[in-house]
Symmetry: C2
Subunit: 412 residues, 2 copies
Amino acid sequence: MKKASDFVDEKRLWQRHVDMARFGATSKGGVNRQALSREDIDARALLLKWGNELGLRGAMDDIGNMFLRQPGTDPSAAPVLSGSHLDSQKTGGRFDGVYGVLAALEAVQAVKQAGIETRRSLEIVNWTNEEGSRFEQGCMGSQVWADPGKLQKMLALKDSQGVMVAEALNEVRQCLPKLEPRPFAFPVHALIEAHIEQGPVLEMTGTTIGIVSGMHGSRRFSIEVQGEEAHAGTTPAAARKDALFAAIDIVNALRKIFHDPQDVVRFTVGRFEVSPDALAVVPGHVLFTIDFRHPEECVLTQLGDQVEGICRQWAGPCDVAVKETRRAACKTFEGFVPEAITRAAAELNIPHMPIHSGAGHDARYVLDRYPAAMLFVPCEKGISHKENENATPSDLTAGVRVLADALVALSA
Amino acid sequence: MKKASDFVDEKRLWQRHVDMARFGATSKGGVNRQALSREDIDARALLLKWGNELGLRGAMDDIGNMFLRQPGTDPSAAPVLSGSHLDSQKTGGRFDGVYGVLAALEAVQAVKQAGIETRRSLEIVNWTNEEGSRFEQGCMGSQVWADPGKLQKMLALKDSQGVMVAEALNEVRQCLPKLEPRPFAFPVHALIEAHIEQGPVLEMTGTTIGIVSGMHGSRRFSIEVQGEEAHAGTTPAAARKDALFAAIDIVNALRKIFHDPQDVVRFTVGRFEVSPDALAVVPGHVLFTIDFRHPEECVLTQLGDQVEGICRQWAGPCDVAVKETRRAACKTFEGFVPEAITRAAAELNIPHMPIHSGAGHDARYVLDRYPAAMLFVPCEKGISHKENENATPSDLTAGVRVLADALVALSA
């Protein structure tokens, strides 16, 4: 019997990446294709066109998640899903997200070309706004899909221009051909999300396929330090309430607590905004964020719970307000879905290994309801969320070959 | 003989401050009257109107400095000048600058009312753009006046909207009545600039008048830390080039070097800009500034010369570029002008003391050419460059009484 992996076409797969990278292409070779933007709409339209050419049936739910169905022989059986997201960071790369969608499309095309009829339907999915860079709520589509109670809150979110998600979605609907509606959380047998690793492990170990065993939990904090603006020339140090120096003392105390000789802790201060940001004025206010991730729930609790106390202890003459803005539990990927990926890779003799994901992905929300897994391929130097993000056609293709065979196995 | 100080009118002086504070009034009780703005033009027009009512003759030079002359009996004698600036910081107060202009106006009016005829002319001056908040070059008017070679460079400076100083000056000229031209650096016998202290010393010591003995020298640096953006979830600490953490390490090392138990050193990191300033991205770039002031030239040299080395030493995995953007020498105010202020205060039995200025003022540039001095009055809690800047009518008045008698003595 022919295997789907034999029909995966490296040139076609690569060309589709090139075609998609035109939407939001930046001068430095990256992509700025934020969720529900003009560029995202163009990418969605091209995906629909390709799906149409393959005879796939498009659908869209109320948060803009798109589904392209290749029907199975048993319409009553729950489908097998695969996909990721077409949106990007503001200064993002050509592979983060889009690879998972194009991998699923290529896999389904390979299944068809192999003449394989699956019992379960296969569906390609494009989740809305995974990056959270335009509307600041990452994995928006998959979150709402898994927990429809979040819909209204998400629809009301605004971008920096004041445009609501609901308004942006209306524009998406007007620009795309009419698609059949889809309920949230419809029954799914299994989901596989393919993605570039966004880290250096596969490249460093010379491994082509990572089968994700778990995902870091994360806690996010927003910290405001309130001091007092003062004249840089006339105000003695003793009379200052310097919000910048207080924030620096706090960050340094946090760095000590979060320091990890094993380098498993991920501790990032990503936003750091100083006001009034004037050369001759002692800063009166600082807002900064903490992004803390770890694979173990108990460490998340033990370290994260110290944040507020440290902030209070090191604020000096300033006031400090600490807000935990998000907590996401650690996830474990196990059972028949990751096993199907492992088996497919083994049968194809493609080097593979279990791997932990420091990044969050849509699959984590699907996993709240249904069996799910992820498949990673290497990216150059582990660089991601940057315009010089890169991956090789052969690694991308190897990932799709494994994906195609695993999807066939799961949809039998 | 009648003394000019007897004719200083507290109500009139206060009411003029209230009237001026309408131009650019902020909701928090402060003033946003940036140089050459609509609000600055309104303030200039009102000053001209008041001068006109007193029969003073207005003039303006090519950088927009305004002069109002009360002629003396000897037209060939160099005049005595007094004044400051009408422009403010973006979130400035109702006294910084404007007090010095209104004090000079009130003093000249008191001299006239006392029926005193001075040999030298008295001139009220309003220097252009002392604050440097719209066009980023503080003491613009007094700098060009003292060193006309700087004119073309200043005229070409642009604000954040791209408007050039030259264009803004044209608008000022169109909106104001035609004024006679003035050359730069015309002969001046002496200048006194009255100003709020912008520090806590006079209030703390219960002194009404500070006679400025010197002005801090200053050095300014702009420091760029170049790291590498990276994914907050996937990039191990060891693989990061975190520009924020490097900048924090540099700032902390600098704080140690600049720490001064005597609290004479003024060390401020005022601008601190982190890119890309995104929650889940390791910062790739930080730009920050150092504003360092000290009354002693040798300390300015000794400490300031260490900045670049410290930056290199603490940049960790990042690159760092250090640029010294300005150096201003320490200034000493001595001789017959400060002596005239001291004598006037002593004769009026108003508590006075020598004081050092941590802030820069227009008088420092006049001093490069001609004898000059400054007179400080207390401001509430030393607060300045803020909307809640405050001063009492009686302190402001005491300052003008001393100023008026000193001007009479100097113009004899």
